[in-house]
């Protein structure tokens, strides 16, 4: 890239360093505060100390669960369901959203159905799915697929619909066929929306997997939380919750990187 480089205002190196490590500092501070609060709780007994493990205890449990393979087992179970369900949602949601965004008849058919289903929280349908599909993996995967589908479909649909009409006109005056316009103009123009939809769809999958695993599972992070509740193993519950958070964060982070790479032309 050429062009004049934008000159940044000079700032003190210490401030630059502080800004860079601010997130790490904040989180470290929170962990220390958490541990201190737990120690204080042991002395003062605000709640039963068993119910409020400190950050060190949770970290120790996480380490132990990692060593015994317990964490990997639950993580693997959840992850495979999420990947399955999310893939189904993406494979149906992206093409359907694309076609609906281009075709008034199809969007006319889908619109009322989606308008009715969308306000229903997917969780409300979980027991119904369990009744229909049993308590095994199928109901969980379909449930995730259902929840993620809306996010992916709607974002794709909006992306395809909001393609600048000027681009379509420009392509028409260049003699492009309908198919070429779709492939070379509509799709690339909508691609940032589609990728965002995929990222949000994956987040939704992680949101709902926990609830799905509360019902009739024998493995998974949601199961781990629910099961540990019975034995008052709050530390394990926290390990599961933090794992889900970390996974979601890692995925979001990676996707945003990929997006920036893919859509350099937007910058």
């Amino acid at each position: 890239m050429s062009g004049a480089a934008v000159r940044r205002r000079q700032r003190h190196p210490a401030i630059v360093l502080l800004e860079r490590f601010l997130p790490v500092l904040v989180i470290s501070f929170a962990l220390v505060a958490w541990e201190l609060l737990a120690i204080l709780n042991v002395a003062q007994k605000f709640v039963n100390p068993v119910f409020f493990p400190g950050s060190l205890k949770v970290a120790a449990s996480a380490w132990e669960m990692a060593l015994t393979g317990e964490l990997a087992q639950h993580l693997g179970a959840s992850l495979s369901r999420v990947v399955f369900g999310f893939s189904i949602a993406a494979v149906i949601g992206v093409p359907l959203g694309t076609v609906a965004g281009r075709n008034r008849w199809i969007s006319g058919l889908l619109d009322p159905i989606i308008s009715v289903l969308r306000p229903i929280p997917p969780i409300a349908l979980l027991p119904i799915m369990v009744v229909w599909l049993g308590i095994g993996d199928t109901s969980k995967i379909i449930f995730i697929a259902y929840a993620a589908f809306f996010q992916i479909f709607l974002t794709t649909y909006n992306g395809v619909q909001s393609v600048e009409p000027l681009f379509l006109r420009a392509a028409q005056t260049l003699g492009a066929s309908r198919w070429r316009i779709f492939r070379k103009v509509v799709l690339p123009a909508a691609m940032p929306h589609i990728v965002t939809g995929i990222r949000l769809g994956f987040s939704v999958s992680f949101f709902v997997i926990v609830a799905a695993e509360f019902i009739g599972a024998s493995a998974g992070l949601g199961f781990l939380i629910f099961e540990s509740r019975v034995y008052f193993e709050v530390d394990k519950m926290m390990v599961a919750a933090v794992t889900i958070g970390a996974l979601g964060f890692a995925f979001d982070f990676t996707m945003k990187r990929i997006e920036r790479r893919l859509f350099r032309w937007r910058l």
């Binding site: 890239m1 000027l166 028409q172 005056t173 260049l174």
Partner: protein
């Protein structure tokens, strides 16, 4: 679409167009007839809202007339096509394609072999003086450079008519002047038929062989003026100023009417 090459003649006959918004009908064009000579540079000149852009969009095939017809070399227009290239005021470059890929868009669609395509793209980028900027994305280019790419993109598709909708309207005065000179150079070299919409009298007199002055809503043809001054035209010459004054009086009467 290709087949024929060279500059085409364009004719509009008895064009009438009503735009309906809600319950109000607005007559935009009323009994408009224009003849555009092959290889001529025709300017549609008029105050904003006179329907000059609508008329251009009809030639492009984006808008259909309610009455009358538009023909290119005697063939009636019903939809957009590669024979009528267009340059938009807002550039309309595809931001996800580099300058070179934008220029390649038209010829690539016609299935030009790769080597040939590369040659065509290079030659048109060179024509507009951007041979060094082929791999730049549009958002890295200035307004003037973007419009040059847009011009190269339209020309690379070898249209028989080039439609330009206030193409230099968003540019600063100096860039505008430079691009006008470049457009003239290209037009004289390529012998294309150009229909150019503008509301700038000076721009029209600098460029056109024929100026079609339109009335304010509803748009009608007020007067058609042939300009046969040699290029490059000197804006301070007596003839230039005379034509400018005459047009000024015509347009002024419309704005104040």
């Amino acid at each position: 679409m290709q087949g024929q090459t060279g500059a085409a003649s364009v004719q509009a006959r008895g064009i009438r167009k009503v735009f309906t918004t809600g319950s109000t009908d607005t007559l935009v064009l009323d009994d408009v007839s224009v003849t555009v000579d092959p290889a001529g540079f025709t300017c549609l000149l008029g105050p904003s809202g006179c329907g000059k852009s609508t008329l251009l969009n009809m030639v492009a095939g984006f808008v259909e007339p309610d009455e009358g017809e538009i023909t290119v070399d005697g063939r009636r227009i019903s939809s957009p096509g590669a024979d009528r290239g267009m340059v938009f005021q807002e550039y309309a470059l595809f931001p996800w394609l580099t300058a070179a890929e934008n220029v390649a868009f038209g010829p690539e669609g016609r299935g030009l072999p790769r080597a040939e395509l590369k040659r065509v793209v290079a030659s048109y980028l060179k024509l507009v003086g951007l041979e060094k900027f082929g791999d730049h994305y549009p958002n890295r280019l200035s307004g003037g450079m973007r419009q040059r790419v847009a011009l190269a993109r339209a020309l690379a598709n070898q249209p028989r008519v080039l439609l330009m909708d206030e193409p230099f309207g968003a540019l600063d005065a100096l860039t505008r002047q430079l691009l006008q000179e470049e457009l003239l150079r290209i037009w004289l070299a390529e012998k294309a038929t150009i229909i150019f919409v503008t509301h700038s009298i000076r721009e029209a007199v600098s460029l056109a062989t024929s100026i079609v002055v339109m009335t304010r809503r509803p748009g009608r043809i007020k007067e058609t003026i042939k300009v046969d001054l040699p290029y490059p035209r000197v804006q301070s010459s007596r003839e230039f100023i005379e034509i400018e004054r005459h047009l000024d009086a015509l347009v002024r009467a419309e704005v104040e009417a």
